[in-house]
Amino acid sequence: MAFELTAERRAILDELLPRYPTRKALTLPLLHLCQEQEGWCSPAVVDYVASTLGVSTAEVQGVVTFYTLYQQKKVGRNVVWVCRTLSCELRGAKGIQEALEKKLGCHAGETSKDGEWTLLKAECLAACGQGPMVQLNDEYHEDLTVEGLDALLEGAKKRADERKAVTFSPVGLAPRGEK
């Protein structure tokens, strides 16, 4: 199935294009935009990015596989990244991951059966002074305790009901101050 950006997202791309000296430079921003709409970097997305920017699909696919934020398969409605790097680990990150695995019913690297959650391990997310921490879609949640996780997850579900985007993306509609 072919992929097309929505007009709103296409407008973001059109605003960015003249600010870069090459079209290829838009590869990362455009993949972000597409992923926000589609939920992952599907083969159709890769084709679309390649033809829109005039680069080969091999190059785009190479970019998709290089960067952790690009999803290579469908993910849950909510994506939880748990930081397991040293500073967080010294403050109990392992316990947070284990509690999340129980609550979400899936292991790190997996999506829950109901499609609600994807749990992933992350490397240092630049919040080392506030560990343990998770990135839940586009938000950081810091100084976590196991007791606080339920409220956190409930809040995320609610926000996912309201949001326009399929998944989080740093470039897209939401960053423009819209939902």
């Binding site: 090459t22 290829k24 960067y67 040293l86 010294l90 630049a126 740093p170």
Partner: protein, 447 residues
């Protein structure tokens, strides 16, 4: 003696809506940009040189000197690439500037652009930092509406754009040439140097790459004058000047980002700023400036009887009492790095700590160079064996060997950044690895 509290870079932290243009203007914002518009570019460069600002991204290169290496190429524009990829484990300082004072960052970019005859600044922010990205985008929008950038800068005929570019999750993109490849839309694989970015950088054009905090200090450098800025630090005499952001994380009571003069000691950072070690325990060791910097212990004393040594003034003192400077810490056999320390208490298993760090590098190696790609993964597997109590005597030799064979054999410094802390831990805590071999017991988990 408690450390003097400095509020210069962090002046606006805590102000309501500190990220808005209105708040920034109220605090005297964009006055330095007005000053810069009255100055010759060469004069701005002179002030930046006098400021003795050593790059805040980890390598500690003098910012003024780097700027003077920019080699304009007729037919190509000059660019600035701001490094806001903040990915070095333990480092979480640039994020606070972007979230709490984005206009200070933008003002710094604009002044640098005037000094370097740059019409496009690319600010590369790691993709996970969504709040930082939003705040920086908003700041650029507000600055454009207010006429600080766009087709003219405050009425001066100097078109200037700041493009906020989101990364997509890859530690290696903090390495300056990987960042440039990533900005150009490719995989973040580092380039061979030379040519250096100041000669051939982004899109084949001369490019200055600076850390975000380095540039965020520029408005203050013009406000106070370069030399006065330098003298705010304690290592002015070593040409390592100004104020900077410190981070402290791990087993301290008050982890966080704090501002201080250049040259605080680790003891001050841990005790005065970090509130001391959790539970009143003792420190086992500290990763001084991001995970690539070899650990230091309190009980190790400076040996510098030679009066010509940079460390002579601290001869016989604890490593924790040496001021944190680029040259002082290099002389100690470690690196200042990003000045963000990870503190580990006396219950910490260094075998587990090494395992954790090596897993990071194994995951983040870009895969271009064999010694790094294979070596980091190999070190991680070996550390895991030690942590599980499955390692043999020979594994200890292999681990040392692998680390030594990464050093200096790769295109970029990621490999060294993994091997150095590994060798540092093996040097100071070899006994813990030997004990793992002897007892065959799993090491205690980190907590």
């Amino acid at each position: 003696m408690a450390v003097e509290r400095v509020r210069i870079l962090t002046k606006n932290y805590g102000t309501p809506e500190s990220w808005t243009l209105a708040a920034y203007l109220k605090s005297g914002g964009y006055q330095s940009l007005r000053r810069a518009l009255e100055m010759e570019p060469a004069k701005i460069l002179e002030e930046v040189k006098a400021a003795n600002l050593r790059g805040r991204g980890g390598a500690g290169f003098p910012m003024g000197m780097k700027w003077s290496f920019l080699k304009p190429n007729p037919g190509k524009p000059n660019y600035i690439a701001v490094n806001a990829d903040e990915g070095e484990p333990g480092t979480f300082k640039d994020r606070t500037l972007m979230e709490l004072d984005p206009h200070r960052c933008v003002e710094g970019f604009l002044i640098a652009a005037l000094a370097l005859n740059v019409h496009t600044v690319f600010c590369y922010i790691r993709g996970e930092l969504v709040l930082s990205i939003r705040r920086m985008q908003q700041a650029v929008r507000e600055a454009r509406e207010a006429g600080y950038l766009g087709s003219r800068v405050l009425g001066k005929d100097f078109p200037l754009d700041v493009v906020i570019h989101a990364g997509a999750g890859a530690y290696i993109c903090g390495e300056e040439t990987a960042l440039l490849n990533s900005l150009e839309g490719a995989r973040g694989e580092p380039r061979l140097k030379p040519p250096f970015p100041a000669v051939v950088g982004a899109f084949g054009a001369p490019t200055i790459v600076n850390n975000l905090e380095s540039l965020a200090a520029v408005p203050t450098i013009l406000e106070l004058g370069g030399e006065n800025f330098s003298k705010l630090g304690r290592l002015h005499h070593l040409k390592d000047g100004g104020v900077r952001l410190y981070g402290v994380s791990g087993h301290v009571n008050k982890p966080g980002v704090y501002e201080g003069p250049v040259g605080l000691t680790l003891r001050e950072l841990i005790e005065d700023l970090g509130g001391g070690v959790r539970g009143g325990r003792k420190v086992k060791c500290v990763v001084p400036g991001g995970s690539s910097t070899p650990v230091l212990r309190e009980e190790d004393l400076v040996h510098a009887p030679d009066p010509k040594s940079v460390l002579h003034a601290w001869h016989g003192k604890s490593h924790f009492d040496v001021p944190m400077g680029v040259d002082t810490f290099r002389a100690l056999g470690t690196m200042l790095g990003t000045c963000c320390a990870i503190v580990m208490d006396d219950q910490t298993s260094m075998v587990r700590a090494a395992e954790n760090l090596m897993m990071f590098y194994a995951h983040e190696s870009c895969g271009q160079c064999t010694p790094c790609r294979e070596g980091c993964a190999w070190m991680a597997r070996l550390c895991r064996k030690f942590a599980r109590g499955e390692a043999t005597e020979r594994d200890l030799d292999t681990l040392t060997d692998v680390a030594n064979n990464i050093m200096g054999n790769t295109i970029c410094a990621l490999g060294d950044g993994a091997a150095m802390p590994m060798l540092g831990i093996l040097k100071l805590f070899r006994n813990e690895f030997e004990e793992a071999v002897r007892t065959k017991k799993p090491a205690p988990e980190l907590r």
